[in-house]
């Protein structure tokens, strides 16, 4: 399962959020995929990819297990 770093300083407690993801990682993601998101000082969590496009830096995720 892909692991995606999230800057939680910008996300706060939101369940749905957009975060920038490198293009080479985005190209491996599809809408509906489940990934592991992690951040500094925040436990890992599973999230669903809501919207990803190779041409758009931001990927939208929804946390699944919080």
């Amino acid at each position: 399962m892909p692991k995606i770093f999230v800057d939680y300083t910008l996300v706060g407690h939101a369940r749905r959020f957009k975060t920038p993801v490198k293009r080479r990682v985005r190209c491996e993601l599809h809408n509906g995929d489940t990934v592991v998101v992690f951040g500094d000082d925040v436990p890992e969590a599973q999230a669903r990819v809501l919207h990803v496009s190779p041409d758009v830096t931001d990927v939208e995720f929804e946390l699944l297990d919080v």
């Binding site: 300083t9 996300v11 706060g12 407690h13 957009k18 920038p20 993801v21 293009r23 500094d40 000082d41």
Partner: protein, 173 residues
Amino acid sequence: MNIWLRDAVELTDDSDILIHMGTGDPARFDPILDRCITGYQDYRGILPNRLTRGIFAVSTFGAVAGVSQSDITRALKQNKFARATYGELKDDFEIYPTSMDAGVEPTVMAVHFDIALPDDDCTLIDAHASDALPESVEQFLTELLRPRLKDLLQRLRPYPRLDKRDIWPEQRG
């Protein structure tokens, strides 16, 4: 990510700036720097002194405009925070009042400030998408920025959350 520069700099020399300190462990700097590099291009065109350039930004929040330090820490998931005053940082770091359409609640996002890590005028030109750099360039930038991030973090003081949990492991009894 849509980022915009707010009209006024609300900080005074005595204003406290809070930063989460998950980054306090140098072994964990690289994901933070990776995020700084990926986000560089989002700042092109919005900063008056860097119209064709971005910044390698570290997110912070100012305890100003009626938003308290506890308001900020409650709005974030992290447990460790540190602080410095604007006066302690402003001579060595460019600090921009920025907001963005991220998940943090709007009242706290309204006091978000980006600290630009000094970059020695290293510029990624427009043709370089900062989310798709060659690994060699990413590595160069990471090595350039790592000591700058360390320098920033070393200037900060611990900030205990209001729930009385100390932020540094060695202070936990």
